[in-house]
């Protein structure tokens, strides 16, 4: 009973914005759901697979640019951006993973490689005509469900929840399935896993591909919500850090961790910003609270839940 209490509470919390007309609540819930989905996508690679990435913005940006370019340059229906972005993000994850893991890169070396890829994509997006260079891409405003643009923010929120559900489902599958067991074996001891017959490079590459595809879907949601994209928005290190931070604060390698992390991080950030008007105080307070959480709960917020369940 107590075990079911947390998912139940999260479910009720997730449904609250549909019963409210408060735009503050809907905006907060949407940002939280997208962050949780991105954190969960990072968690699949970084938490379950031990593939600590500092450059997940690469996948977010690739997905966002894929969707934006296809509709603005080639006139494709924006909904087709979803499968296209997932394919691009997945392929990028596989390629980056396969090349790095075949070269035997792991730990901090792998983290730096991902950081470098994100930065390289940012530079490329700044230089290429197809991405609009530094000027970025503006998606024309035509609110209609067929255009993947919604006048009511709650629809965007529902889509963010769907993505979160998909990412959480993938995490649950990893936590209980055969592939997940192989992945965690690789995470704990690569040599032992290899000796047991696990295809280490393929397992890790597939995991990064899955994580990349989910992260790219988050990029599509971003573009369709805000209708503007530039290299800074798409590939910033800040975005990579946010994904990592949310999973770490909530509890990396757990199903509930990124959800809790996103809720707490956004609740602190957005409420302090709304309540404190003096510039600089809200971000400072936010930083202090995060430091306290990381210091007191190195295993993440999920430890508190586990203790009480």
């Amino acid at each position: 009973m107590r075990r079911a209490a947390v998912p139940l509470a999260l479910g009720v919390l997730a449904l609250l914005p549909f019963a409210s007309s408060s735009q503050f609540l809907v905006t907060l819930a949407t940002l939280t759901a997208v962050s949780a989905a991105l954190g969960q996508a990072w968690n699949i690679a970084g938490g379950f697979g031990g593939l600590t990435s500092f450059g997940h913005a690469a996948f977010f940006g690739l997905g966002a640019y894929a969707a934006a370019i296809l509709q603005t340059r080639y006139g494709l229906n924006p909904w087709l951006g979803l499968p296209a972005a997932a394919a691009v993000g997945g392929a990028a994850g596989w390629l980056i993973g396969f090349s790095a893991f075949r070269a035997g890169l792991r730990g901090s070396y792998f983290a730096l490689v991902t950081l470098a890829f994100a930065e390289a994509f940012r530079v490329l997006a700044n230089s290429l005509d197809i991405t609009g260079g530094g000027s970025g891409i503006l998606v024309a405003l035509h609110p209609a469900p067929g255009n993947f643009q919604f006048a009511d923010r709650r629809v965007s929120y529902a889509l963010a929840l769907l993505l979160l559900g998909l990412a959480t489902g993938a995490a649950a599958w990893l936590a209980s399935g055969r592939f997940g067991a192989q992945l965690m074996a690789v995470r704990e001891n690569e040599d032992a896993a290899r000796a047991l017959g696990v295809a280490v490079v393929r397992t890790k590459s597939a995991t990064l591909a899955l994580s990349g595809a989910l992260t790219a879907l988050g990029g599509v949601l971003y573009v369709q919500s805000y209708l503007y994209l530039d290299p800074g928005i798409a590939f910033s290190a800040e975005r990579s850090v946010e994904m990592l931070l949310i999973a770490m604060i909530g509890g990396a390698g757990t199903i509930l961790g990124p959800l809790l992390g996103a809720i707490v991080v956004h609740a602190i950030a957005d409420t302090t910003r709304s309540l404190i008007a003096t510039p600089g105080v809200a971000p400072m307070l936010y930083g202090v609270v995060l430091l306290v959480i990381v210091g007191v709960l190195p295993g993440g917020l999920v430890r508190i839940v586990a203790r009480h369940a």
């Binding site: 530094g134 000027s135 405003l141 006048a151 503007y228 290299p231 800074g232 928005i233 510039p279």
Partner: protein
């Protein structure tokens, strides 16, 4: 006879969205300050008279330099029933805000977002009292040409340095295409990220190219760091010239007189011959604030919006937007003349050629507005 009881007029809310924390905090804070002064001034003279003297209330939002936060603030302000929004200092924030505001038909009065695309997308709710990027760059080229020819054409080549987001990239592209037309060859265009904290390599690249001019377009910190590095590396130039230079401001002129001396910028400024402008500057400085053109932007973005509300006699968007579009407002100290919006862009808006002389900002071009003679070419370095 009993006194006539009349309900106190409701307040008219104006949203102000700016980045007041993060790397763009200085400029965003300046715009916000201008907006707050405008609100105080409006209330001091009786609020919105056509609405029975309704007071104007500022609803403040910190976009933190992030488009998604700026967009979310519009949602919240729509819920608070703002009559209009001003903002957003940076073009990428303005693009996000105007798109979201269009969904609610909230009029947006742009302060310092300069990208052409802010008003060229056909959004009926968006108005920019100030010049767009193409206007500024074309005028900046005309100014540079006049200064160069006036000195016997000593400048024949240039290196362009720009920050690599929308603002810097689009300006640099325009500059690169126009320079040849005034007899100046663009040797190289160098982009850099914001933030960038070390310009040594860029300064050395410029030194190796030995151009007559360095043309700069970037945000405040990078602007000043680049100029300081050029000064330290003793890069000899006919002139350093910026277009909408983010760091071209009075603190820079006063705090770094050696680095900033003779720097030329084509930028927004007030008409120095109008005594109200000088009085406004002194008022801002007397209150302990830094005076920069962003304060003027924040101020007039609110004033022109409030004028539309006043003439509409309503805070409803469907009446404010047509009133805004029909604005002929000219009670300003900017060198613009009467307002005339075409597709949301004020056609009379313009910049001025400015130069830092004696640790102050002087207008050097065009002659009608100038209060100092240009130093061009500048004295040799070191």
């Amino acid at each position: 006879m009993p006194a006539v009881l009349r309900a106190a007029p409701e307040t008219v809310k104006i949203g102000m969205i700016h980045p007041v924390t993060g790397p763009l905090a200085f400029g965003g804070g300046q715009c916000r300050l201008g907006g707050q002064i405008a609100v105080a001034d409006l209330n001091d003279v009786g609020g919105i008279k056509s609405l029975g003297g309704a007071k104007v209330e500022a609803v403040l939002g910190d976009a933190q330099g992030k488009a998604e936060i700026a967009s979310g603030l519009v949602d919240q302000m729509a819920e608070q029933k703002v009559a209009g929004i001003t903002g957003c200092y940076a073009s990428n924030l303005a693009l996000a805000v105007t798109q979201t505001a269009a969904k609610y038909s909230i009029p947006v009065s742009i302060d310092s977002g300069i990208a052409d695309s802010i008003t060229s997308r056909g959004l009926a709710n968006v108005f920019r009292f100030f010049p767009d990027n193409t206007t500024m760059t074309n005028q900046a080229i005309a100014c540079l040409d006049a200064l160069n020819k006036g000195a016997g054409s000593p400048a024949k080549s240039a290196v362009i340095v720009h920050e690599n987001s929308e603002f810097g990239t689009s300006t640099a592209k325009l500059l690169a295409t126009k320079l040849a037309g005034i007899g100046i060859a663009a040797k190289e265009t160098i982009g850099h990220a914001t933030p960038t904290r070390d310009f040594t390599n860029i300064a050395l690249r410029i030194k190796a190219q030995a151009p007559d001019l360095v043309l700069i377009t970037n945000y405040p910190n990078e602007y000043q760091l680049l100029l300081r590095t050029l000064y330290q590396q003793k890069v000899d130039l006919v002139a350093a010239y910026s277009v909408s230079g983010g760091g071209f401001n009075l603190p820079f002129a006063k705090d770094q007189p050696a680095v900033s001396a003779n720097m030329i910028d084509y930028n927004h400024w007030y008409n120095p011959h109008d005594p109200r402008a000088e009085a406004f500057r002194k008022r801002v400085e007397a209150a302990g604030h830094v005076f920069g053109w962003e304060v003027l932007f924040g101020y007039f973005a609110v004033r022109v919006l409030a004028d539309a509300i006043e003439r509409a006699g309503s805070a409803d968007a469907d009446r404010v937007i047509p009133a805004f579009a029909a604005s002929t407002w000219h009670d300003d100290w900017l060198p613009y003349g009467p307002t005339r919006f075409v597709n949301g862009q004020n056609q009379g808006a313009r910049g001025l050629g400015l130069q830092i002389q004696d640790a102050d900002i002087k207008v050097i071009w065009p002659g009608d507005f100038a209060d100092a003679k240009p130093v061009f070419p500048r004295p040799k370095a070191g």
